[in-house]
């Protein structure tokens, strides 16, 4: 096994497990080196033992700091020198030094009196310290710990030959050192002799004493941080860096993982919060909609309730009003009241009232006028029958009249550019039979009591009687076109018959539907006369057709005359 490795394992056992035997082994393995070095420096066995004790005590305290690659002999040698110097600094040391110096001065003065290596001994440690550590260690192992060249090579991990060469080289460097200090005769052999001469073996007693003393002050086995540090101290830099990195990375990694987890949780809560907010917003929107809807519905219910209350109230008021109005109208001492919309009329005066009135009860094309409906007290079915009878009659009369209408020429005068006259000859006896039949039907519908109301109108004085209206007596309608001061065509008409009428207007009102220049008014052309019953609708229609032709001819093509 490698010497260094062996030392390291012994120290490990001592520091980790408190194995004192392992430390004792270390002491035994290197006591000669330490004791010899100390003795050489302090030149007193007792003092050397004390120095050795101090050195190994220091080793016991600092054992945990050693790494496998550290050279324990080298460290022990240096420490021994330091401890020796320390000791020498004391009083006794001083005296010794003085005495030694005197002795050395004498020796140097007479080098021939003593073997040559003796002169080199005082400078031996200085010379060893001047060497590189490997060279120094090789010499220490070879000469002070009495290792074979093979062991020395093993300590360095090299072959025996290489160890031999290294030892030889170190000895040469020592010789060179001595020469440099004035020892001209110093050689490798002298250096070797000096080393061999100064090698000392400590006695078993010394060994036991040193081991005991060192163990007494040695710390107990290292545990916890101490052990950890001890382990750390025993590791290489790469190992140390790896362990520390591992130690540093693990908590950082753990913390980063925690951070990631916290971040994820924060995100999750954020997502949930957003979802809840969205849901809340949606619910709020729905609530607003529902509130608005409820508001409208409440309003509707309130309105409906109010309407129902009003309806009930108005129904009650209406009933009261009807009762009051009935009472007023049916009272024996009936009086006119301004607040009633109705009046009571004795049936006996109705014929006279009808005769004195200014309007006929019926009109084309078969209408019973509202006043007549009230005066006659018609039921809906009576009114329907009556109007159906009138419709049939007027339709029949119009049909016959349309056949008989003829057109005659009119002389042109003044600004008149076109003129014609439509004549309705009247149906005479032809229609009288139809009218009588219709009146008989009316008589049947109304009955004897109400017939006088119609009869009164038939015999009414004046130019237009109900009879003439019903029979459509002779009528004529002249129409013409003339130009005004600006040259614009206008129309005019005169109606002759039971009632005379005349008028005129713009010819453009007779332009076809959709013509941009068409003006309003053609629908009203003699419409009142037709409704009043003194103009046949067929006659009006013929005249309107003639006017439409004139308008198309004179105002057509975009309205350009």
């Amino acid at each position: 096994m490698n010497e260094r490795r062996h030392d390291f394992e012994l120290l490990q056992r001592f520091t980790r497990h408190g194995e004192q035997s392992a430390f004792a082994d270390v002491v035994r393995r290197h006591l000669d080196l330490v004791f010899g070095t100390a003795l050489r420096k302090v030149e007193d066995p007792g003092a050397a033992q004390e120095v050795a004790q101090n050195v190994f005590t220091a080793l016991a305290r600092k054992a945990w700091r050693f790494a496998p690659d550290d050279s324990l002999p080298a460290w022990l040698y240096k420490t021994a020198l330091l401890e020796s110097k320390s000791w020498l600094r004391g009083e006794l040391g001083r005296r010794r030094r003085e005495a030694t110096a005197a002795e050395l001065g004498t020796t140097m003065k007479t080098p021939e009196d003593q073997p040559a290596f003796h002169a080199l001994v005082p400078l031996l440690d200085e010379a060893l310290l001047s060497l590189r550590e490997k060279d120094r260690t090789a010499l220490l192992l070879r000469f002070y710990e009495s290792h074979s060249l093979r062991d020395v090579g093993a300590a360095f991990g090299v072959s025996e030959d290489t160890a031999q060469k290294r030892v030889q080289s170190a000895l040469e460097k020592l010789a060179e050192f001595f020469k440099g200090r004035g020892f001209k005769t110093a050689s490798v052999a002298a250096a070797t002799a000096a080393l061999q001469h100064t090698a000392t073996s400590a006695s078993a007693v010394v060994t036991s004493t040193v081991v005991s003393a060192a163990l007494q002050v040695a710390p107990p086995a290292l545990v916890g941080w101490g052990a950890w540090l001890a382990r750390l101290a025993t590791m290489s830099r790469v190992q140390t860096a790896a362990v520390c990195l591992a130690l540093a990375v693990v908590p950082v990694g753990w913390q980063l993982n925690e951070r990631h987890a916290a971040g994820e949780e924060a995100k999750r809560f954020q997502t949930q919060l957003l979802a809840a907010q969205n849901e809340g917003a949606a619910v709020q929107t729905e609530i607003e909609r529902l509130r608005a809807n409820a508001g409208r519905l409440e309003q509707s219910v309130a309105q409906k309730n109010e309407a129902a209350a009003r309806a009930a109230e108005s129904a009650q008021a209406f009933d009261a009003w009807k009762q009051k109005t009935r009472g007023q109208l049916m009272a024996a001492d009936y009086r006119w009241t301004d607040d009633s919309p109705f009046v009571r009329i004795p049936k006996a005066v109705l014929p006279q009232l009808s005769e004195l009135g200014g309007a006929d009860p019926f009109s084309p094309p078969g209408v019973v006028k509202p006043y007549a409906r009230e005066l006659m007290g018609l039921t809906p079915s009576e009114r329907q029958s009556l109007e159906a009878t009138l419709h049939r009659h007027f339709a029949d009369v119009e049909e016959r009249l349309a056949v008989g209408i003829y057109e005659t020429n009119q002389p042109l005068s003044g600004r008149v550019v076109a003129s014609t006259k439509f004549v309705l000859p009247g149906l005479g006896d032809e229609v009288k039979q139809s009218t009588d039949q219709m009146l008989a039907e009316v008589h049947g519908i109304l009955g004897e009591a109400r017939w006088p109301l119609v009869q009164a109108r038939l015999g009414r004085r004046g130019s237009l009687t109900l009879e003439s209206s019903l029979s459509q007596t002779k009528q004529n309608l002249s129409v013409w076109v003339e130009t005004d001061d600006k040259g614009t065509p206008t129309m005019g008409y005169t109606l002759g018959g039971a009632v005379a009428n005349a008028g005129g207007g713009a010819l453009s009102m007779f332009l076809p539907e959709g013509d941009p220049n068409r003006t309003k008014g053609s629908d009203d052309f003699l419409a009142d006369a037709v409704r009043a019953g003194f103009l046949s609708n067929a006659l009006r229609q013929r005249a309107a057709t003639w006017l439409q032709e004139q308008a198309a001819a004179r105002l057509g093509n975009g309205g350009k005359p």
Binding site: L247, R259, I287, R310, W336
Partner: protein, 313 residues
Amino acid sequence: MNKILLAVAILCAGAGGFLTARQSTTQFEHEANVTREAWLTQTQLVAAAQSDQAGLIEHVRELKQTLKQTQALGENAVWSALQTNGARQFTPELREQLLEELGFNWQSSEEFIMVSKQTLREIQMSAIEGGKLTDVAATVLAMTPEERGQVEAAVQRVQTDFKDWVLAHAERSDPKDDVIAHYSLPDNTIMRQSISNNFVTGIFAALGRERTELIMPSTRNWMISPLGLGLGKYPTTLIIRRYVSGNEQRLNVQVVNSIMTPNQSGGDIYPIDLLQHSFPSAFLPLFPNGWADIAKREGFELPKEFQEKYPPP
């Protein structure tokens, strides 16, 4: 020693990294806690809102149910219209509905028929005939004897007032050349307004506003014609002339207003044969029997056709 420094450096760096990561973790944890608290609060709010929503849904459902169950009772249209407009603006259909509601038709009474006042307006009943209030008008308007007496007195008074004014203001010119009669009445605007106002006031005092409005159109017509109050505003002249038609001597009449132009009515633009001309009513107070009285007064003979057409009573 170098190893220790290396270890310390790495461990310090690790510690720094750890502390930084720890601080960041704490910050994230804090954010997560805050967000969690906000989420919990929001969740509670949502739950409360959902509870409100459920309540509202139920409320709306109940309201719809209530609305569905509540009968749609509308105000009676006839009554509503009656309240708003009175019976004046009633359409014929509404009037008939109202009469139906009241239960009035031809059969509901042997003696009477109930009609709306609007119908009376539409009939345009003539209230005065022959200078007297008609029985029909008095009956229809349900005049009491006192009311009728007041109205008749008013009618009589307006005729008397007008006659007195005509008698007082008519002017006669002597016949000259072909003119055999020439009478003039001055502008009667003030008199007409005065008489008309007195008449309306009298009627109004007797019958009130509504019945006065009902008979006023026909009485206004009566005052214009045949009473003759219409020829006012300008002096009115009656001229009768002789003229020859073929070998026959004939009479023509022209009633003119002083500013008469061809575009104005109210008089004759050209003379009209007497046989075709009705006697101007404005001069009736002077000559109650018309053409016969004026011929007697001025000493000319009416044409034979006239005497045949209107023989003396």
